[in-house]
Symmetry: D3
């Protein structure tokens, strides 16, 4: 059985990693769909799809899981929601179940005919992309404890903390 796990992964944090492991206990093969793939340099989406892909790959490799997971990119359809599931089908290998924590994703995929399920999240107050980005924006280094070590390395290599700070400043968020 092959499942699809859709998220934005801005950035890929320990909650996501836990979800991947939880899913891999239930299915043989997993496709990770990086959503809102075309967006970057925004407060909610600071990292490019390519950068997020690298974070995910490195994290899974460190866990010895890279051979069981494929990654793909799913663009946002700019509110043309009725087309979005067709994009998902086009850009993902065939799958029989969808996992996500985004309510719109769950709704659209269910209406399209798929079984779609939320992933149990642990420590949701801290393990959330919003929280991790807000720490980065404040220069609070404790964000490093909330992401897999390889993710912190990728973010450092692209000077990502500073990027998040500049984007938040630009939008008057810090």
């Amino acid at each position: 059985m092959r499942a699809l796990f859709i998220g934005r992964f801005q950035p890929f944090h320990l909650g996501h990693l836990g979800a991947v492991k939880w899913i891999l206990e239930r299915v043989e093969e997993l496709v990770i769909g990086i959503g809102s793939a075309q967006y970057a340099y925004m407060p909610k989406n600071p990292f490019t799809a390519g950068e997020r892909l690298l974070m995910i790959h490195r994290s899974l490799k460190a866990e010895g899981l890279a051979h069981r997971v494929m990654t793909t990119l799913i663009p946002d359809t700019d509110s043309v929601h009725a087309l979005w599931p067709a994009y998902v089908e086009m850009y993902s290998p065939p799958f029989s179940k969808v996992y996500s924590n985004d309510p719109l994703t769950l709704m659209l995929m269910r209406d399209y005919g798929y079984e779609a399920e939320e992933v149990p999240l642990i420590d949701r107050s801290r393990l959330s992309g919003t929280y991790v980005r807000s720490l980065m924006a404040k220069g609070d280094e404790s964000w490093r404890e909330l992401v897999p070590k390889p993710v912190a390395e990728v973010i450092d290599a692209i000077d990502g903390e500073k990027r998040v700070q500049r984007i938040y400043q630009l939008h008057g968020l810090v």
Copy 2:
């Protein structure tokens, strides 16, 4: 060092697999960029990006190489060539070298400032996507010898040989 290998992989054949191995002898980490990602159901592009992704992942896993390779999707920019390298940069992890056997790809990436190199191809008359598709279109089962075993399995699972035949017939090519 991380390199990017761009192709259409319609389908991923033994020539592609040989190229991946050849590159992996030279670089530590490889990103495979699946080009013309949005196209399918065409004589030159019968398979969706998702299907091609599955072919590649399964082939690399069988070779024990999945942990060294990431896959991404690169859409065609409908002849707006001047934008194409920016799409590549957006959808790929950062890379320092490009490999491809498509002359336009090489030209565009070089003009954009990248080092770009052709991959040596073996048995080019048989190990080409065009040739593999033409065999499939004729119902000549020898195409199976030209692709990694997992690719043949993926194609069988999606009834791909028949799809290629129908597409070729539709365009008056058989």
Copy 3:
């Protein structure tokens, strides 16, 4: 004389039906342009263009008006307002007058050279798409009194009330 009546019809309610009848007393032939055609699954636009088309057709058929009215779809141009009238001209039969209750539509079509007029609306506080959707979102069945009977049937057939509820919940609107 042929007129064009543009709206979003989310859903087509008795105010819209009254407007159509009022216009048909003044012109021989009417084109109904379903605006924001590409949107659905949003609080302001829950129904697809196809679903709205069915609501309109069934309502007009029930009134014996189907032979005097054509329907077409007008996509939103994502804020490229200067192009929008050209889309209207491309997707509608030629027309000599525009009716709408959307101020931007009236402004753009007038600046483009068309005569454009508001339609007198009755009972505007209840006969508005916003109000009908808010009733549906609350599970208040009185929305049924505000739409033509065939519209309620279409909405029931696609489980539309529940869709509106889920979309409103998703956006924290109920």
Copy 4:
């Protein structure tokens, strides 16, 4: 039962009208999907979607069939074939069967899960859009015998014969 009949209708000719009648003997309600909706001023697609819509409406009205038929517009997806069925679903009322004489349409809709059937065509050598347009391009008035009378009236009202001639000349086709 509701069916969808997809074509380009460049222009709507007597073969199309015959097909509509043949389908209406088999289903209660019909949606006519005007394909390649965004194209016009091309040798294969001289008329806008709006003009084609008017041709169809007037022809069906003359036959007393307007109340049993809805029309909608289906854009071409510029070779992104895997998305096209989702566009069809978004822009059409729900349907349980597809009719078309375009092989790619039949293939895509079948692979998407729909029952799709060709419509029997009579007098195919003369009742074809290509042939009708070629007569118009030559100024051979016999095209008028191949289309419903209201279609000829619409074409005359928009000076359509001359438009076809100019487009064919432009492309060196006459």
Copy 5:
């Protein structure tokens, strides 16, 4: 040396003209990039790119500077920020430095590898597009003192003050 000055110029005011002169003291040749080129008829973007182009050309001609300045159009990429610098490069002659007062522009162009600098602005409280538009929206004729004389002439010729008023009313801003 050739520089690029990017702004939206809604409308081109005396602050912009001052900036152009300040830049022309530092570089030989200047390209003015009219940003958000596809937008018009919006509160922040009332004028089309073509209208803004005319304002700029007439103002520079009146100052005897037209021969040292080129104008081009840069479309907004609808939040796909990572592609935006590539659009700039495609639509502008090659340049070695960027001037702008938009923080996102400066950030994106710097991350893309360009030297990018803010232009010193004088009398920023009055010489701002937002302020000029707000005066126009209120019918306060003092906006005329804040723009070059040829800009006022262009705005009068297209009845621009009234357009701004109607747009502001439409959005409930006056």
Copy 6:
């Protein structure tokens, strides 16, 4: 009176310059619309819009005509011809007459309501973009005699002759 002259200017040659002068004897102010603005790196469109803009500006400056001419960019609408005139209107200052030597441009603009006229061309066999590009592709330096001197300088600065050669080779045209 303001006129619009539309062409692709691949590259801007002496025939174009002659046309500009001929038009400027008839109108006060001219807008040059650079068509197919988004294309480059193709046999028919080797140069970006930005590069073509620079060629035109430098040529007109050398002739002392820069103050009478504005340049703008007109994208191709990918065969959605019915929208193209609206793009022209959006991206150009208002104009009362169109000049072009492209038959489709003339047809579309006339059908849209504009007066549109061909420009008399001298020495058409040599002063054509196709011919100039074919000389460049062959490495025949005589193309330099067919373009304004500043155009040759721009082409040299971007290594344009070699680019044309590579593109022609890529497409098997030399």
